[in-house]
Symmetry: C2
Subunit: 289 residues, 2 copies
């Protein structure tokens, strides 16, 4: 059960082909969008979507428009997160961040445009029943809104009380977990998974999101900038609350292991062929970047 790298490659070549149209005047903004979008990575979110739909017998190729849209949305969030008034990061995936390369205003607009183009892509390219596509868009808009990704980002910049494990869990379940859940849920929806399986998938996705964030916090402490491709130690520099700062490194490692086990257990209850999803789970637990 290893990471389904073939899905990463599939998505990668699809992202490269994404064209935003033939309007030369705005092409430089399209370049800024592609610059950040093509910076590499494991593409965990779109791979999760495709692996979930595969579990219910669908071809990953069929899911490419929504998969690409989810990666575009993730990229938009990274661009805005890196801005000077947020994390003020200069490095992302081993290259200068979007605002360092193109200027702050172009970076803000690149993020904004990626968000809009993501919805356009789903509407124009994703095959499926209109009612299902509408539910997919609803799920993504909730996952990225006030009670999702952006709300979590707000909690991150506004700060949460010291040593408050509950607040930390909420922050991350909004900032990272909610979109990961949307990836899994939309994969199930597009594959026509029955309601009961959607519920099982959501339990799996909740644990996976938690695991993802705990590992992220651990890597910010023990990881190296060169391997991470982004600045290590950002959390400490920003005096940010993390699983490591709240629980200590050893307990954080223990929590990560528990989340992995819970995620795999939840996966056992899902009816489809979930090998690829298990591979993603193991990868997230073992990753070094």
């Amino acid at each position: 059960m290893s990471y389904p790298d073939e899905l990463t490659r599939l998505l990668e070549s699809n992202l490269k082909e994404l064209a935003y149209g033939e309007m030369p005047e705005v092409a430089p903004l399209g370049e800024a969008m592609q610059y950040s979008l093509l910076a590499g990575g494991k593409r965990v979110r779109p791979v999760l979507l495709m692996a979930t739909s595969q579990a219910f017998g669908r071809q990953p190729e069929e899911m490419l428009p929504t998969a690409a849209a989810l990666e575009m949305i993730h990229t938009y969030s990274l661009i805005h997160d890196d801005l000077p008034s947020f994390d003020d990061d200069d490095l992302r995936r081993g290259q200068p961040t979007c605002h360092v390369k193109f200027g702050e205003n172009v970076a803000i607009l690149a993020g904004d445009a990626l968000f809009a183009e993501a919805f356009r892509l789903i509407c124009e390219r994703q095959q499926g029943d209109a009612a299902v596509l509408l539910e997919v868009i609803r799920e993504i808009s909730v996952a990225t809104g006030l009670k999702g990704m952006v709300g979590g980002q707000y909690l991150d910049v506004s700060g949460i009380p010291d040593d408050d494990g509950e607040a930390l869990r909420l922050l991350h379940s909004l900032k990272t977990g909610r979109l990961i859940m949307a990836c899994v849920h939309c994969g199930g929806l597009l594959a026509g998974a029955p309601e009961k399986e959607l519920t099982n998938l959501r339990v799996f996705a909740a644990e996976l999101g938690l695991l993802f964030q705990i590992k992220d916090d651990i890597l910010d402490v023990v990881g190296e900038t060169a391997v991470l491709g982004k600045q290590a130690g950002t959390d400490a520099r920003l005096d940010r609350h993390t699983y490591v700062s709240v629980y200590g490194l050893e307990e954080a490692e223990r929590l990560a292991l528990r989340s992995r086990d819970e995620a795999l257990k939840a996966l056992d209850r899902v009816g489809g062929s979930t090998e690829a999803l298990a591979g993603i789970t193991n990868y997230i637990y073992e990753r070094h970047q």
Copy 2:
């Protein structure tokens, strides 16, 4: 044929009731969103949507979710436009801009969240056939993406060649015109207007968008800050190309008159009862703010 103020009032009370859920942790971000959303104004975009659907016999109340969503998207664009790395405006609709009041990072997030919540609102609340709603979301995502609002904003910050009327026209048709067209188009779509009428409506909307922008440029020169509710003279301060800087004030006034006449002529070809749309057109031509 006067402005349909009753539609503004209807939208206004709907916006006040908008609740973003009961998650107290993120309530302050919801407040920043509402602060900018409730700053008043004629609500031209949602009123256009409702007036268009009214022309084809639909009740404006039925269109409130999409109408509110369009105003949320417009508000998001204003918040980002006002940021220090864009226009760096301190005043909007007579009150401190979002980033002055809440800080730059919260303002960026308030814009981001308004965009996401706008799509959520349409998915969750707008009545209509799923295929029509999907087409509404597609139209809005195109109008706000790289070849729409955000692309136009990019042209604005990156600059266009001096005295280039064509480039200026493209800039504004993307930045302002495209969303205005989406409002009219979606009003027709949701009302089930036939394809021929949708085409007529788009011709009207194109002229209206042009009129809107020419007047905006004129008001930035001849308007007073107190009446405008935003800083007058911003265009000149930023050395920005406008209809006044490219054509001179007198010619700009003539272009505005011509656009009004063209818009009203286009409206005559639309089959429904278009009194409210004519009222909006006259208001935009005569407005002082």
